[in-house]
Symmetry: C2
Subunit: 610 residues, 2 copies
């Protein structure tokens, strides 16, 4: 051992002890012939005092930032105490020291607030990882990992490793593939998730499975997506949806307690997908604050019976009349926004990311009067009625968007989140869990005029919808009327867990009957041959006594980032990739030897760059 103690543990109680420490030089301060050094290791920082007697030796072996240093010395009480750190009452007076390794001047400072830009820090990730701000994240990640494993272990789950070199069955996202040298011309795929394997384990009788496991998706990377990511992947047999929800809100509550020391004792709310969409414009609402949507005009295809509310906004106002949807939020205590502020909000919704043509507002003045951007079209009485419908109180600012249903709903949801953020309703240290349930089983894929699985092809319909699914032809005769197809209304036995407006986990009760699974594959446009080629093993397994089962997978990177109060999952991954899927530290991916290509019997055929 190069040390007898760490840099984080010595206190006033150790005064007089002879110790050996090893670590990195954080700072050097010279006062005449004596020198102070802050020595840093994983556990903390200890002040080291080099007395006059060592001055010559120090000059011959001059130290610099990030040098690796071993010191042997005596723990002494400091005259000038630092109450901010655990070791702040002592220092170590050096008897002798060894420079274990030198360091070039780092390209950025190893401090919480560093001067290094993102690219530089990624290139020198091994130095970035030294910073306390990053170390805290990596340690939090481990704490979440440990806590999840403990909870699952105590609840009878067993960690079973599933393979990484599997079969390519692209459904949704693209697979990363791995050419096989021993089976020339054939490829493995890296798993997008262990989905089918965990289901097979249920067929095998392992009844409670978990794994904290890497998954891979070859997608065009949006901000904060990684080609490889980690899931807490779980599956249970002989359960219904209710059992899963209880078990896994327990998991998250247990992580809150162990990692954040938060007693999450309140009931986890539940909301149907429809409620979420109508009330928040979003299937992963942030329910730390209210400001629910008021649907002033529903799209014609849905809830025609509810559309009487649209009488409220009946006027000679093209922006509302021509819109498929008109939807409002009442922003508390903002009725006194200036023209500049409302203009800024209008610009905000007109940005390409939001894509609206404009913003209508109604100020509900504290004196009971109203002032709106559409005063020309509405009487005070009408404005008051709209305000009532929107649940606005005196002092609120009503913001109204109008336009095509999907875009408008997305925009009002973004606007709600933005206003919530500006008003300080989205507190980093407040955590609100939510289950969103009863998702649609299918989504309509316009390009191919067919159904795709909203979750995945293994998700079960609600028991009450099984008949509808079996007895109807999935083919969509009239693309324009796809919403009238019986499949459009089939609900899935699926659920998402939402934390502060982020989907942290999702799962479903699975299909376990061979015929229903075949019907599902067929509904997704897979003929029997394709079903056999891709999923023959699963259909086979369902012939030999598959139990009812279901499960969930949590996005581990995302969960950690939210618990750590960060927006970026990259901060919680030791060696992340950038938005082009590159590891800039390794400089990977990279070209490989012709010898390797020849062994794999593949050839590059790069297209001309246009």
């Amino acid at each position: 051992m190069f040390r007898s103690r760490t840099c984080g543990e010595l206190t006033i109680k150790n005064v007089g002890e002879i110790v050996t420490l090893a670590g990195w030089v954080q700072t050097i301060r010279k006062f005449g012939a004596i020198t102070f050094i802050d020595l840093r290791d994983r556990y903390g920082i200890t002040q080291i005092l080099f007395g006059e007697n060592l001055n010559n030796q120090l000059e011959e072996n001059s130290l610099g930032r990030e040098f690796v240093l071993q010191v042997n010395g005596t723990v002494t009480e400091r005259s000038n105490k630092n109450k901010n750190i655990a070791t702040g009452e002592i220092e170590v007076t050096v008897n002798n020291f060894t420079i274990l390794n030198k360091s070039e001047t780092p390209p950025f400072t190893i401090q919480d607030e560093t001067d290094g830009g993102d690219d530089l820090r990624m290139k020198y990730r091994y130095l970035d990882l030294r910073r306390n701000a990053v170390k805290k994240n990596i340690e939090l990640r481990y704490a979440v990992n440990r806590s999840a494993r403990n909870y699952l272990h105590e609840n009878g789950f067993i960690d079973i490793e599933t393979p990484f070199l599997i079969k390519s069955t692209p459904e949704g996202a693209r697979d990363f593939v791995v050419p096989s040298r021993m089976n020339v011309g054939q490829f493995y795929a890296l798993p997008q998730s262990p989905q089918t394997f965990k289901q097979l384990l249920m067929v095998s009788g392992y009844d409670k499975y978990y794994q904290i496991v890497k998954c891979f998706r070859d997608e065009d990377l949006r901000a904060d997506r990684q080609p490889e990511f980690t899931q807490i992947d779980c599956e249970m047999s002989f359960v219904e949806q209710e059992d899963i929800l209880n078990m896994f809100e327990g998991l998250i509550k247990s992580i809150f307690k162990e990692v954040k020391n938060i007693d999450y004792t309140s009931v986890v709310e539940r909301m149907t997908w429809q409620e979420a969409m109508w009330q928040y414009g979003n299937d992963k609402p942030d329910i730390r604050f209210g400001m629910q949507l008021c649907n002033l005009k529903f799209p014609a295809h849905s809830f025609p019976e509810k559309n009487n509310i649209s009488d409220l906004i009946a006027a000679d106002l093209a922006v509302f009349n021509d819109a498929e949807t008109v939807v409002a939020i009442a922003v508390p205590d903002c009725s006194e926004f200036t023209r500049k502020q409302t203009d800024e909000l209008t610009e905000w919704v007109k940005r390409p990311q939001i894509g609206m043509k404009g913003l209508v507002f109604i100020k509900c003045n504290t004196d009971g009067t109203f002032k709106s951007s559409v005063d020309k079209f509405y009487s005070e009485e009408k404005l008051k009625a709209i305000a009532q419908a929107a649940n606005a109180k005196a002092g609120d600012l009503i913001l109204i968007l109008a336009g095509q249903e999907e875009r408008t709903r997305k925009a009002i949801s973004e606007l709600r989140l933005e206003m919530g953020k500006r008003l300080g309703y989205r507190k980093e240290d407040e955590f609100k869990l939510l289950w969103v349930v009863d998702f649609p089983l299918f989504e309509y894929a316009e390009e191919e005029n067919r159904w795709v699985a909203r979750h995945h092809p293994f998700t079960s319909p609600k028991p009450s919808d099984i008949e509808t699914m079996i007895h109807n032809n999935p083919a969509i005769e009239n693309a324009a009327d796809y919403l009238k197809h019986p499949y459009a209304n089939i609900k899935a036995n699926a659920y998402d867990m939402v934390l502060n407006g982020n989907e942290i986990g999702g799962g479903s009760i699975r299909i376990y009957q061979k015929e229903l699974q075949q019907k599902m594959f067929a509904a997704l446009g897979m003929n029997e041959e394709e079903q056999q080629h891709k999923f023959g093993f699963l259909l086979g397994a369902f012939e030999f006594g598959a139990p009812p089962h279901g499960g969930i997978a949590f996005g581990f990177d995302r969960l950690c980032s939210i618990l750590g109060g960060s927006e970026s999952i990259r901060d919680f991954i030791a060696f992340p990739k950038n938005n082009s899927g590159r590891d800039v530290m390794l400089d990977a991916p990279s070209s490989i030897d012709t010898k390797q290509l020849n062994e794999l019997q593949i050839k590059l055929t790069p297209k001309e760059i246009n």
Copy 2:
């Protein structure tokens, strides 16, 4: 929940309770109008009694093996108790039941001793996994996993995930590569181990790292190798070899205790690589038994001073005189082997796997006389002297092999293990750990007439050998004399942990100085450009204060198989691949769509099959 209790927990104490169980039908026994079923789940088997009243219903819904069944009924005391199982004193008398899923007749019986051959069981692995014999292995694997994590956690280690999509730096084994779609013409590699990443984490100051992690090697599969396998991967900073040995024999002892309830209190033996090779012919000796080698004639290139012992065997005997090596073992209590038995042994060593030309034996009769297959050449006196040298006692059978050094040493080692096995010295329930230390740093690669790293290029030489390494040119001028090159004698700071003759782990103290690392790369024939291309990130990291560090990796699959008393790691992997690297259940690898190939801009160029 489809059940209120499991099939493994009901005892006489539960008599009278109404319970719901769910599981698989193991057996069906009809006695007139009543039917007994053994219902199986993960936790055990419970006997279920269907009374006369259910006879009609059972006939309408006939049950079969492996049907998934839910029963509701009353726990009752059995008249005919079964002491062999936990639930053997009770049965559940059915009130009502539901068939949750049917099953075809399984292709093999779901029993400890199954009638299914290997191929069939692999194809239907999800059924094979139902067998208790396999389930026990999977559960043992989890127990080892859990125990390792607990020990490492308690000792301050932190689990940090390293990336799977990395850079191809083939050194030794072949990489699996992954074509990148977003970086056309470039490839990721799957890690053969997280070696460089864990070293970077040490540079980052994380001082005690571990991971239980999948690794990948594209090798021609020998029996019992898998293209993907799991390591317990660990690294520590500020340590010397002694610290690592202590920490990790602690890990294995802790696993013994928790998983096998074995108190491994004895000191773990240590042996240099040289001792292992001379005394056991093998760098992973099984020390559960003695029978060490007696080197009757050393190869000329080594220990010339010791060769006086070869006077013992001096005779007009070409098989000895022409041999580079003559080596013997004394097999206890086998002097009365018949001609048939010694002939059989002779055939055994002549098999191509062993490859010897013959076997010489000396029987040390219990009456003090000797009888050998070379009586023509040696007097009784001489035989006695040889027996003395071989540490043989009266009643022993001395077996002698002669020939080319490497082959002969390997053969005598195999023969020793075979005799140990036949004589019952290799007990499945006896565990003997051993550290083999002081490996050579380099191996000579004949084809390329250069040095290769015996462990890997990051292993440090012994401190006393660093000067030799730095001040000598690695080039080998005279291939025939490579053993005289100073590099041939450089010892590595490397160690293997051996359990019952299997290498279960290996590691080293690493190089942490940039210059020494460069010298190492150069010694392996890598020029500066190649060093930068492949390992620039590591050399870079060594510029910024790399601490002294070292680590170890355990072969998790192998460790589990030894603890489980099996020769095959496949039995301890939920979904293993066969010897051609195929998953026969999935039928993977497989061909992929042209669309996928086009997106990756690669083309298959299969060679003509010869």
